[in-house]
């Protein structure tokens, strides 16, 4: 790709991963962000790197690719530069594994079926007998009906992971322009040849829209709107605790709520401990636009779900709550590929609640697509030219009727 000029629009973890792959492949990469790198969605979520929550299909394949890439990528980052070494450390990679717990008999059946289907797609999913569960998670509820252990699930500190990827991109020659907003596109001969920013004109051979939940708005500014919208999530953080939660533990209805798009609030519990000892408890899914107002009753629902999994945490103090906006597409699949309406424009967005985990795979996939090489996973499902992306309103209406 020597000589190719690429501009990545957005310095979240997706932009960082794309910039890294393109820069390592020899492109002259510029990353623009209107704020600071990784300061938006990427540092307002959690860092689950999961295969467990995805059923067989294209997204699982991307998750498996990403899961395979993460440790090698972080090793490469650490080896390339001293800054990268520090950043890779701050990424806090921890392949601790996940445990999904069902607490109803219907949940147990659904979980067993789901795990079966995942196994056929190559996921390591091992049912845990009650004693085994107790040994793995001594404080988990006794009231469970089934549990499955996913050895491949892992965790990163998302801001650190994004810093690591972007630091590596910069070490490979990419340039970062922070505090610069992309305002409009310059189209010549039907092709996107430049973007106008608050600081001037940026010209390039290709542009990657990696603006997270703002991708829809940004794409519209460039003249090729896509259906990416915000979906709010809230997370609770407790004071540091002695070791009580050893894996990523979540309730089985998590799977149900990821796959739904209803506007009313949904909550499901994911409980995990961080390296510093705090427990992170997520999260809610709400379609409320970019409304950041705290909703104590939503936090209350998240807390109640967490206590259903870990009743003994009732006296643990919550010291912080935060939240962000997942980049949401109505069919719950990311958008990765060229925009058929506007040559020169590419999209890497819409990862909803899985963008941290999927970032490295997304970067790799995008590189293959840009080069026109056969992709490492089937990218057809992520193409721009699909109803949920190009005609989100009609798509949603169809879905609900």
């Amino acid at each position: 790709m020597n000589g190719t000029r690429a501009v990545v629009l957005g310095a979240g973890i997706i932009g960082a991963a794309c910039a890294r792959e393109l820069a390592l492949a020899g492109a002259a990469v510029t990353v623009v962000d209107r704020g600071g790198p990784a300061a938006a969605t990427t540092s307002h979520g959690e860092g689950n790197v999961l295969v467990s929550d995805k059923g067989p299909g294209p997204e699982l394949a991307l998750a498996q690719l990403s899961r395979e890439l993460w440790p090698t990528v972080l090793t490469q980052v650490a080896e390339r530069s001293a800054e990268g070494h520090r950043a890779a450390q701050a990424a806090e990679w921890d392949p601790k594994g996940g445990i999904v717990v069902a607490t109803t008999s219907a949940g147990a059946h659904a979980l067993a079926r789901f795990a079966d289907s995942q196994r056929s797609a190559g996921v390591r999913a091992e049912p845990l007998a009650p004693e085994a569960l107790r040994e793995a998670e001594p404080y988990v509820t006794r009231e469970h009906t089934a549990a499955v252990h996913y050895g491949e699930d892992a965790q990163v500190q998302p801001a650190g992971a994004a810093t690591a990827l972007l630091t590596d991109a910069l070490a490979a020659g990419a340039a970062l322009r922070g505090g610069e907003e992309v305002c409009s596109g310059v189209v010549r001969g039907g092709r996107l040849t430049g973007v106008r920013t608050t600081h001037g004109l940026l010209e390039a051979d290709l542009f990657v829209n990696a603006a997270g939940p703002w991708s829809g708005a940004l794409a519209a500014r460039l003249g090729a709107p896509v259906g990416v919208e915000p979906r709010r999530g809230d997370v609770l953080v407790t004071t540091p605790q002695p070791p009580t939660v050893f894996h990523k533990v979540y309730d089985a209805d998590y799977v149900g709520s990821v796959g739904s798009g209803e506007e009313e609030s949904q909550t499901s519990a994911v409980v995990e401990s961080t390296r510093a000892g705090s427990l992170l408890i997520g999260s809610s899914r709400r379609r409320v636009g970019f409304d950041d107002r705290l909703r104590p009753e939503v936090l209350s629902a998240v807390a109640a779900k967490a206590l259903r999994l870990f009743p003994s945490l009732a006296r643990v103090p919550v010291m912080r709550a935060y939240g962000g906006f997942r980049p949401y597409v109505a069919d719950h699949l990311p958008v990765i590929g060229a925009d058929p309406r506007l040559p020169g424009l590419w999209h890497a967005s819409g990862h909803e609640g899985a963008g941290i985990g999927l970032s490295v795979g997304t970067g790799r996939l995008l590189l293959h697509l840009v080069r026109g090489e056969p992709p490492p996973v089937d990218a057809a499902a992520f193409r721009v030219d699909r109803p949920a992306v190009l005609r989100p309103r009609q798509y949603q209406q169809q879905e609900t009727t």
Partner: protein, 530 residues
């Protein structure tokens, strides 16, 4: 505002400002719910010895005790007042945009007995007065994380509230007139205070206090009070030194000695002036940090007050700020107008959260805020009332002038980071050192405030950056310049004071449903038993 007078007023904080706000709002006819996390009203200033400690004389050094007692009794006994002690406001919930009115209060009320089983309640009112005060600000220095180093406020609270001495051989150091009462209350409980060290030079404080002395006359009470403390120190032969600071604490497992040094006006250390002194305790305070989490949660606009700069030849003017390279800041305070209104309709602020000016000024602000909250700020018809309100406003304005003077006389010198070494801990909760912070700010891909915080963990611990937050923000500003960070749409601006959960809440308490306090006139216990 042409809205009918607000009748239900919630006052958060029962310190001098809040108590006086409740008093004024009651006098203006409102129904008032007065809320404080503490057992008794009084706040930081009138910190009382809990009644369970037996009938004890109020601390001797307590000024204005009788007036306070009178007001306290009147407010608590008032039929239109509900007093909610041991009640924390843990969150404020902003209403829907189309809904006019202050945010909904989310409360955690302790039961009649102590500790166990706090219950969650909500409270909706017509007007809200925030009077949540400040806590002391402490700058880091090598060794400040050692046991035996404590904030002057904590030492004073122990002395005043429990009559316990933090140590036997104590140095009190930092900046501001607050050092005097702290030293005095330590002496009162039997500590030996070896020295009181004011970091600002005599010239800086004299310049700050000396200009426009007529403004001080109105705060004569304050001056007399400080003179009283000074006399106590003199009687105990405690030296009060200006232009000197504790720049290091050392010890094996706890403080055994401190290194003090002479400072220039900008707080850089003068070579050859270091001295060591054996101590078992160091009490430090470098001023106060307003508790801005609730104002921020309510959506109130803040004012960043530029710090007066004092170079060797400076007079604290804007010119010095330019010379010193980066404009410093006294920190942010809640923006209020003449009526103590914040930028949010029906939310008022009073006391230390609008500026650090001491208890008399907090009281005056509280009274104006209480009146405005109860009446919407209308001018009273009764001439006596009108006169009284005018007098209050005057007293409030004098308080503000005093605050400014205080800030000028006791600025934080720009060169204090010179005391730090790479291994010096900056965030005590997470043990983040100065070197890692500098490295994070120097990492191009990770220098955004929020990202640097997550990557270094500074401010993520149990105190949630209450201690180190402003320090980290200032260090970052020095490193990267003043350009404000642009928040992403919908996401809050990075602010060291943003804590949407203002007080810790247990998972069990949070998970339990909350009950509205429908009539602010009844206590939660009565609600649940009816």
């Amino acid at each position: 505002m042409t809205v009918p007078a607000a009748r239900r007023v919630a006052v958060v904080g029962a310190g001098p400002a809040g108590l006086s706000a409740a008093h004024a709002a009651l006098a203006a006819g409102a129904r008032v719910t007065l809320i404080d996390a503490a057992e008794e009203p009084g706040g930081q200033y009138h910190r009382t010895v809990p009644e369970t400690y037996g009938p004890q004389r109020p601390v001797r050094l307590q000024h204005g005790w009788r007036a306070f007692e009178r007001r306290r009794r009147r407010v608590l006994a008032h039929p239109r007042c509900t007093w909610l002690p041991r009640t924390s406001v843990w969150a404020l919930e902003q209403p829907q945009p189309e809904h006019e009115g202050p945010p909904r209060l989310h409360l955690l009320c302790a039961g009649p007995a102590d500790g166990a089983g706090r219950t969650r309640h909500t409270l909706d009112v017509d007007a809200l007065v925030l009077a949540v005060g400040a806590h002391d600000r402490v700058l880091p220095f090598p060794g400040w994380q050692l046991p035996g180093v404590c904030t002057a406020g904590a030492a004073q609270a122990l002395a005043k509230g429990e009559r316990v001495a933090v140590g036997e051989r104590v140095v009190v150091a930092g900046s501001g007139p607050f050092l005097l009462p702290v030293a005095a209350s330590l002496l009162d409980v039997g500590s030996r205070v070896l020295e009181v060290l004011e970091a600002n030079t005599a010239a800086t404080t004299a310049r700050g206090w000396g200009r426009r002395p007529w403004e001080l006359a109105a705060q004569a009470g304050k001056a007399v009070e400080l003179a009283g403390h000074a006399a106590v120190l003199a009687r105990h032969r405690v030296p009060y030194r200006t232009g000197r600071a504790v720049v290091e604490a050392r010890g094996d497992g706890r403080v055994e000695e401190v290194v003090t040094a002479r400072l220039r006006a900008d707080w850089s250390v003068l070579d050859g002036t270091r001295r060591t002194l054996a101590v078992d305790t160091v009490c430090v305070s470098h001023g106060f940090s307003p508790q801005l989490e609730l104002p921020l949660a309510a959506g109130c606009a803040l004012d960043e007050r530029p710090a007066p700069r004092c170079g060797p030849a400076g007079d604290g003017g804007a010119d010095d700020a330019r010379k010193s390279g980066r404009s410093g800041s006294l920190g942010a305070f809640v923006r209020v107008d003449e009526q103590q209104r914040t930028s949010v309709p029906w939310v008022f602020a009073a006391g230390e959260i609008t500026g650090i000016a001491g208890a008399p000024s907090a009281r005056a602000e509280g009274a104006v805020a209480g009146w405005s909250a109860a009446t919407g700020g209308s001018t009273p018809r009764d001439p006596g009332r009108r006169r009284a309100l005018r007098a209050l406003r005057r007293s409030r304005d004098q308080g503000r002038a005093f605050a400014e003077r205080l800030a000028r006389a006791h600025p934080i010198g720009a060169a204090w980071p010179g005391w730090l070494r790479p291994q010096t801990v900056v965030c005590r909760c997470e043990e983040t050192d100065y070197g890692s912070l500098c490295a994070a700010f120097a990492t191009e891909a990770g220098s955004a405030s929020r990202v640097a915080k997550l990557n270094t963990r500074a401010g993520l611990g149990p105190c949630q950056g209450r201690i180190c937050g402003p320090t980290v923000a200032e260090l970052r500003r020095r490193f990267l310049g003043d350009a404000p960070e642009r928040p992403a749409e919908g996401l809050p601006r990075a602010d060291p004071h943003r804590r949407p959960i203002a007080q810790p809440v247990r998972l069990g308490e949070l998970a339990a449903p909350s009950a509205p306090l429908t009539d602010p006139g009844r206590r939660p216990e009565e609600e649940s038993s009816s």
